[in-house]
Symmetry: C2
Subunit: 370 residues, 2 copies
């Protein structure tokens, strides 16, 4: 079968003909329909991250996915051939109490694997085999947006984590007497845009910032869903001193996150989702002033990574809500669909203005392009 | 009456004869028994912090307090002359929803005042007048330790905040199958030592670190209550790579807090309680590496300041528990009692090896010295 492979830590990705995965007991065979491309894929292809499966010469890249069930094991009751599914990414360590209760996103040992990222084959290939507990069924009507489910699951977890920390005190933000809670989203890539949609759906007053001006597709969509777009190319001073209850950092920038603390309201929570590359040089930072803000304002900084199956299922409901409330809002994040064969070029060079590039794997099974 | 006064932002404290506070409707007149000295008092006396009441030429210093009710207003039902009381510190802004529900420790406007710190007279004086809702009654049997209640209230809130953030996920640390949750306390001043006691009482496996060797009174008490003491004068590498579920930063150092993130276990929470002085120069920091740790490990950094009346009441129960379980453990934190008149010298120059210095105000009403 075709697959996009990398050999970490060497840079470079290539399309190769590789053996199809063998059947395993209880495993469901899935034909991949389409896959999303994200910054982690670019980092892995750039030699900055990623790990091949133990003993394997290469890693099949890709973790954002949508597929169609091709074959189920005898006795399978929930899935049938032809069903659309999205597979989760992380597989538990088999040792810790979080992985024991299907919350490997909180794995304590660090011995987890992640398909397409760390030690397990990914989805940029014609087929994969996976156990049904890691496959989330997708209604046919959501075929056009379900490839966004994996990045949305990361957003679902991040918001849930941020809200859990906001709720550490009473009363919580968004009291009827004081209007909706306010949220800032830093970054208008796919994760940032999905955060804008999810926060608007939850009733937050949302501001989204990036450094790309007001004429982009992202800025237009931000405004269409009743959020505000601010260009901060000249710095966060463009926010005129406004402060927010919840900030979702989705830019992965190393310069921005600590500066965002200064835009947190008292008792506010900054959730970090971006993973900056390691080994960057030290950045000058007025650590004392930052800590004063954190302590004196009861502020919090929370990291969130990966997501649980529950987050995928919440995301599926949210995707339907987004499209029902603002038709085209989710599907419009998919700014281009390109054939799988172009993956090596795509991960090497980001298209300007693109929000989410999707790789088409099984053309005949693919939903219609926009 | 006698009072220790400062004139922020000028440095220097002095003992002066000032007018006793006038009666106010509903106010309780309290004779001060004794008061604790903390780093914030030193910062205010050093000209680095603090604000006099609006229109007043000076600020009466001091926020850690124990007093005896001298006079109650007509109709007062809960307090009577002779009762021991500890007064809380912060007074709400009168505008925000947190101050409306007696949670001014989460005040959103920043327009609160704090007795002895920001815009309201403190307790280093012969008398003060306060409304009964801000006075926490103290059983006579706890007279010897109740002057520690204000710093303990800060610890109570900090631990409650840290545990609330730990609980943002399930299962929580300390599962029976995996043994007690682990905690690190950075700093063995009074706040750090009270955190050690409170965390031990809650069943945590506790490690306390400082830079003062193993021969101090603090190190001995740490070990007596079943916690571990580690000298980290040579750096956190002395912890041999161990990681902790909950870290309480009680050192107020600007060099330490971010380094502590590296000692957080996955999903762990760092609670910051120390307030570093503002205006320090930027510190070099590998911000990218720090953020990777926060994001990839679902870690959290939470600031906690001040405390609610509930935290004072929880602290009163904890003080009794400390003394019952380890007699002398709380009272032993009071390493010296000195007359009020020595306050200006005490805030100007910290006694080496002292954990908590207490100012004796009303010698006749004071509990026996140790």
């Amino acid at each position: 079968m075709r697959a996009v492979v990398v050999e970490p830590p060497s840079p470079g990705a290539s399309v190769r003909d590789v053996p199809a995965p063998p059947d395993v007991p209880g495993g469901v065979r899935v034909s991949v329909v389409e896959c999303g491309v994200c910054g982690t894929d670019r980092d892995i292809a750039g030699g900055k991250y990623g790990r091949a499966p133990a003993g394997a010469p290469y890693l099949i890249l890709g973790h954002e996915n949508l597929g169609r069930v091709a074959k189920v094991p005898a006795g399978e009751r929930t899935l049938a051939p032809g069903d659309l599914v999205v597979a989760t990414v992380r597989r538990g360590c088999g040792r810790c109490r979080f992985c024991a209760v299907d919350r490997s996103d909180f794995c304590e040992t660090g011995l987890y694997t992640e398909r397409g990222i760390l030690g397990a084959p990914g989805y940029w290939a014609d087929e994969y085999v996976e156990r049904p507990e890691y496959l989330v069924p997708v209604p046919t009507g959501q075929a056009g947006t379900a490839v966004l489910l994996e990045p949305l699951s990361v957003v679902e977890k991040a918001i849930a984590q941020g809200e859990a920390v906001l709720r550490r005190k009473e009363p919580t933000p968004g009291h009827p007497a004081t209007g909706p809670a306010s949220a800032l989203v830093a970054g208008t890539g796919a994760v940032g845009m999905l955060a804008v949609l999810a926060l608007r759906t939850r009733g937050y007053a949302v501001t989204a910032v990036d450094r790309h001006g007001d004429a982009t597709a992202a800025a237009a969509l931000v405004q269409r869903v009743g959020a505000e777009h601010v260009d901060v190319a000249a710095g966060l001073a463009s926010l005129d001193g406004r402060e927010f209850d919840l900030i979702v950092e989705a830019a992965g920038s190393t310069a921005l996150p600590f500066a965002l603390v200064d835009r947190l309201g008292r008792n506010g929570v900054l959730v970090l989702t971006g993973i900056p590359p390691s080994g960057l040089p030290p950045a000058p930072l007025a650590e004392g002033d930052l800590l004063r803000e954190v302590v004196l304002g009861n502020r919090a900084i929370v990291g969130s990574v990966n997501a649980s199956r529950d987050d995928f299922e919440a995301g599926l409901r949210d995707l339907a809500t987004f499209e029902a409330r603002w038709p085209g809002s989710a599907s419009g994040l998919i700014t281009e669909r390109r054939p799988l064969e172009e993956a090596p070029a795509i991960v090497a060079d980001r298209a300007p203005g693109s929000i989410k590039t999707v790789l088409t794997v099984a053309a005949s099974a693919s939903p219609p392009a926009r």
